[in-house]
């Protein structure tokens, strides 16, 4: 392991809670509905984070707790029952309904597991009910997906068939690319989790080889292990280096030679390196500060340093699973400063003191930092854009070079005259 500096920080945070992950999960599984049991704050959070007004009727909603629901839990359970009945009557196409716990529902100890169990019996053969918590008191941003996937594992049947299981939501086009490459490598049985249809859950067992596409799935990984799955240890498929090692690790697990992997992916690498050049010119030598939010920060830092030659000032992460991130941490340059957790005020002091060229942060902080003359990149874009894989490396770099390029254009001293 490289000599990386680990720090922990506590204090006020500026991060999304796990409910936010509904924004991409509901798009991944169009036959599912996500029903948050929470407050008006929860409803307002999701709509504000996602800008969801474009939908006639979105596939997520909030059962908003009212005063009378707080008075007696029995009534609250009955009320939730009523809301679910109405919802299913209105949206008969729903196949899986996620009951999502929130801060208030956790604090009043609303037992969503029991509610889900009862509903499962009543709607057997029609709708499946699953529950998990996306509450801010327990989860940060992408951890919501971890909770949702973990909740689905008990529904997955067992099978000893050998297969490659890609775990973590990917953009559909990226997933298609990955499947094609794996097929070319000679791995034919490939499944994804979460699947595109919530009812088509992959079967798992001791010959299931899990390859993580996202770094924020600690609980899911643990439960998959319990079901006998083998977890392939690899860095994450961000950038050329990460993706290459990711493919190599998968190939090794299937006894496919390294040579074969290089044969298949070399043309992609060459093409991608070429595409990366123009971004690298802008990013090289620029100083980067990553604030914690998505848990993608460590992989992004590795890519932006190793392949784009940026200098790392500080790499924030809301939560660090050293075991899961081992391969990534090994690839980081010596003396990288990783900070787990956050004290947003102290961290912003460090941002200002270190005079970065680019800060990766949440949307609440971006404009205030821009107003101070610091270029920023919104972290939420990383979870909405197709950034994984060799083919996407230049696009990923582009997310970071664009604000710098824009800054250059706008602060340029010479005006072009005609």
């Amino acid at each position: 392991m490289s000599k990386v500096e680990f720090n922990k920080e506590t204090g006020p945070r500026e991060v999304f809670c796990g409910l936010t992950s509904i924004v991409w999960l509901h798009r991944r599984m169009p036959d599912a509905f996500f029903l948050v049991v929470g407050s008006r704050t929860c409803a307002h959070l999701i709509q504000s984070a996602a800008g969801v007004m474009i939908f006639a009727e979105p596939r997520f909603g909030t059962a908003i707790l009212e005063e009378k629901d707080l008075a007696g839990l029995a009534d609250a359970h009955e009320e939730l029952d009523r809301v679910v009945n109405d919802l299913i009557a209105r949206r008969p196409e729903i196949k899986t309904l996620f009951l999502v716990g929130s801060c208030p529902s956790e604090v009043i100890k609303l037992d969503l597991a029991t509610v889900a169990e009862k509903l499962n019996k009543r709607f057997i053969g029609q709708v499946r009910f699953v529950n998990y918590s996306g509450s801010g008191i327990e989860t940060t941003f992408t951890q919501g997906e971890d909770g949702a996937l973990k909740a689905l594992i008990p529904l997955m049947e067992s099978s000893n068939e050998e297969k490659l299981l890609l775990v973590g939501t990917l953009a559909n086009n990226v997933e298609d690319r990955f499947r094609k490459i794996f097929r070319n490598l000679g791995i034919s049985n490939i499944e994804s989790f979460p699947p595109r249809e919530s009812t088509e859950l992959p079967k798992i067992g001791k010959n299931t080889k899990v390859l993580l596409a996202q770094p924020y799935l600690s609980d899911t990984v643990r439960d998959l292990k319990h079901r006998g799955c083998e977890i392939i240890s690899a860095p994450f498929p961000l950038g050329i280096e990460g993706s290459t090692k990711w493919f190599l690790a998968a190939a090794k697990a299937f006894n496919i030679s390294e040579l074969k992997v290089h044969e298949i992916i070399s043309p992609l690498i060459n093409r991608s390196k070429l595409a990366l050049e123009s971004h690298k010119k802008i990013l090289k030598g620029k100083r980067l500060f990553l604030l914690p939010e998505s848990q993608l920060e460590i992989s992004l830092a590795r890519f932006l340093h190793n392949e784009c030659e940026m200098d790392l000032i500080e790499v924030g992460t809301p939560y660090l699973n050293k075991d899961l991130m081992k391969e990534e941490i090994n690839l980081l340059p010596d003396n990288t400063k990783i900070v787990e957790g956050q004290h947003v005020e102290k961290q912003l002091d460090r941002v200002r003191d270190s005079n970065p060229d680019l800060v990766v942060c949440g949307m609440g902080l971006a404009n205030p930092l821009e107003a101070e003359g610091i270029s920023t990149k919104w972290s939420i874009e990383m979870v909405f854009s197709p950034i994984h894989g060799i083919d996407q490396a230049a696009d990923l770099a582009g997310l970071f070079s664009k604000p710098l390029r824009r800054n250059q254009i706008l602060t340029s001293k010479t005006l072009v005259t005609h």
């Binding site: 929470g38 008006r40 704050t41 007004m53 059962a63 609250a76 801010g136």
Partner: protein, 523 residues
């Protein structure tokens, strides 16, 4: 428990944030879990604010709940005070903290600070954003001025005469995330100044706690947005005898009435009454012949109380539209909106459910929708032009240019903003008219896109006499042909009405004559 897919208003603590962020030298410590910081992006993204909202979130976690969350609150309060040195501190809770009952306001008051502390108790499970903003502004005003209540005499609105200066007023209610507040304030200050009236304080937008303390230096309060300021204005009236205005100066008639009201309250003679009619281009633009086609345009209005009521008046009296629907999500203003609707022979729609609004919109078959960002989306789906007149809003509703809703310039802006989408609507009509001409190239598309109506698909459907409507009624070729001649924006309504009529009369086949019979029957 209420199933909500989307909400017009946020929770009440977001209202409190609107007040805190609008002001200077104030800090708000919010007892809240992580995630509630999402609210910051409303200010930094929608309003493009270059400063973070002055809010510290205590960020308690599940593991803190077993221990001492009260200590966590105190630690955060102390750090926030040390770092930001606010002149007034707001302390409150979001929905989750309300359940654990740490009473952060009381804790803060016990910490020995010498600045005023406002303890905000905003019930998150029964109230919403605008109520929270109003309550916060009221509690702040009360806290900062209560010591002066007993020592003060009632304020005589005519005292400026004895003091030998121009009369002074406060402009109360404008806040961040309000609709065009930034520009309304400029416009109203300009109008007042022309009338010989000075502005003492604008609050909460841009005000400091010291400014709140000198509210009583003015003679009269201008209550610019009732949703935010009425509670404070009422308290100032009861305790200091300060009169406040009730007229919202949106539209020409209301602006003139507002000026009259200010003059009356201050005992200031109005000398330039004639001039006022000519301050805005709206009256002439509306009178000019080009505007003839605006007559009787069917308009559907939904928004906050203040803007919906004003829009109804302008639409009917100043632009000659027909208001075919009126509603609000502001329950606090439901009574007034109902009264306005009644005058228009309508029943007001009071709801927080956007799908109900969309249904009402569909049924009313308007030619123009005036609403919030959500109605803009609904109208787009239905293929109806729309102009946004109220929050909740989008980043595009905070324009770079000067763009008030109030006063003379506000009336100009309203004329343009409401009429331009209709011009486009007319263009749509022309395209529809000429689409059978051979010069017409397929692919000419309206900016409204393909969402228009299902009626067009129905008309294009082949087949002579099969049951071609869902009620099992048969449309004959002559009936279909007649329906194509009906302007596109009422076609859906005509189709529904004709079918309704056919069912009522037991007519199995709809011919061109049936359309006319139905038209006569429903008119």
């Amino acid at each position: 428990m209420e199933l909500t897919l989307w909400t017009y208003e946020g929770p009440p603590h977001v209202g409190a944030m609107r007040i805190a962020s609008s002001m200077k030298d104030i800090h708000y410590v919010l007892h809240a879990p992580q995630g509630d910081t999402y609210a910051d992006l409303l200010f930094t993204m929608i309003e493009r604010r270059g400063q973070r909202p002055p809010v510290t979130y205590t960020t308690f976690q599940a593991r803190d709940l077993g221990g001492d969350t009260a200590e966590l609150v105190k630690k955060n309060i102390k750090e926030a005070v040390d770092r930001f040195r606010p002149k007034t501190l707001l302390v409150g809770e979001s929905c989750t903290a309300e359940l654990i009952q740490d009473q952060p306001g009381a804790l803060a008051k016990g910490m020995g600070f010498d600045m005023p502390i406002v303890n905000l108790e905003l019930p998150a499970y029964s109230k919403k954003e605008n109520w929270g903003a109003s309550e916060t502004f009221y509690q702040l005003t009360r806290t900062l001025l209560k010591e002066k209540v007993s020592s003060s005499e009632k304020i005589n609105p005519l005292r400026w005469k004895e003091l030998g200066r121009r009369p002074k007023v406060n402009i109360l209610g404008p806040s961040l995330l309000g609709f065009r507040c930034r520009d309304d304030v400029i416009e109203i200050q300009r109008i007042l100044s022309e009338q010989g009236v000075d502005t003492n304080v604008v609050a909460p937008l841009g005000a400091s706690p010291e400014d709140i303390e000198r509210l009583i230096d003015a003679e009269v309060n201008i209550c610019l947005y009732q949703e935010i300021a009425e509670a404070s204005c009422e308290w100032l009236r009861r305790n200091f005898g300060m009169e406040y205005t009730n007229t919202i100066p949106i539209g020409i008639k209301n602006t003139i009435e507002f000026i009259n009201e200010v003059h009356n309250k201050l005992g200031l003679p109005l000398t330039n009454k004639e001039e006022l009619e000519h301050k805005s281009k709206l009256p002439w633009y509306s009178k000019s012949v080009d505007s003839n086609y605006l007559t009787g345009k069917r308009v559907f209005i939904f928004g906050d109380g203040t803007h919906a009521i004003a829009a109804a008046k302008i639409a009917k009296e100043e632009l000659g539209f027909e208001v075919v629907g009126l509603g609000t999500y502001s329950r606090e203003m439901a009574r007034q909106v109902r009264a306005t609707a009644k005058d228009l022979n309508l029943e007001a729609l009071i709801t927080n459910n956007y799908l109900e609004v969309e249904d009402a919109m569909k049924k009313a078959a308007p030619e123009l929708v005036l609403g919030t960002q959500m109605e803009r989306h609904s109208a787009k789906r239905l293929g109806i032009p729309c102009s946004v007149i109220s929050t909740p809003m989008h980043v595009q509703d905070v324009p770079a240019r000067y763009s008030p809703q109030m006063g003379w310039e506000g009336a100009n802006v309203i004329f343009d903003d409401w009429v331009h989408p209709l011009m486009m609507g007319l263009e749509e009509h022309l395209i529809d008219m000429f689409k059978h001409d051979f010069e017409f190239v397929d692919g000419h598309q309206s900016h409204l896109g393909h969402t228009a109506t299902n009626t067009n698909d129905f008309l294009n459907s082949e087949g002579k006499k099969e049951k071609n409507s869902k009620e099992g009624i048969i449309w004959t070729e002559s009936g279909k042909a007649e329906l194509t001649k009906v302007p596109f924006f009422v076609r859906g309504k005509v189709k529904t009405n004709t079918e309704k009529y056919a069912i009522l009369r037991g007519i199995p086949e709809i011919s061109d004559e049936t359309l006319y019979d139905a038209k006569a029957y429903f008119s």
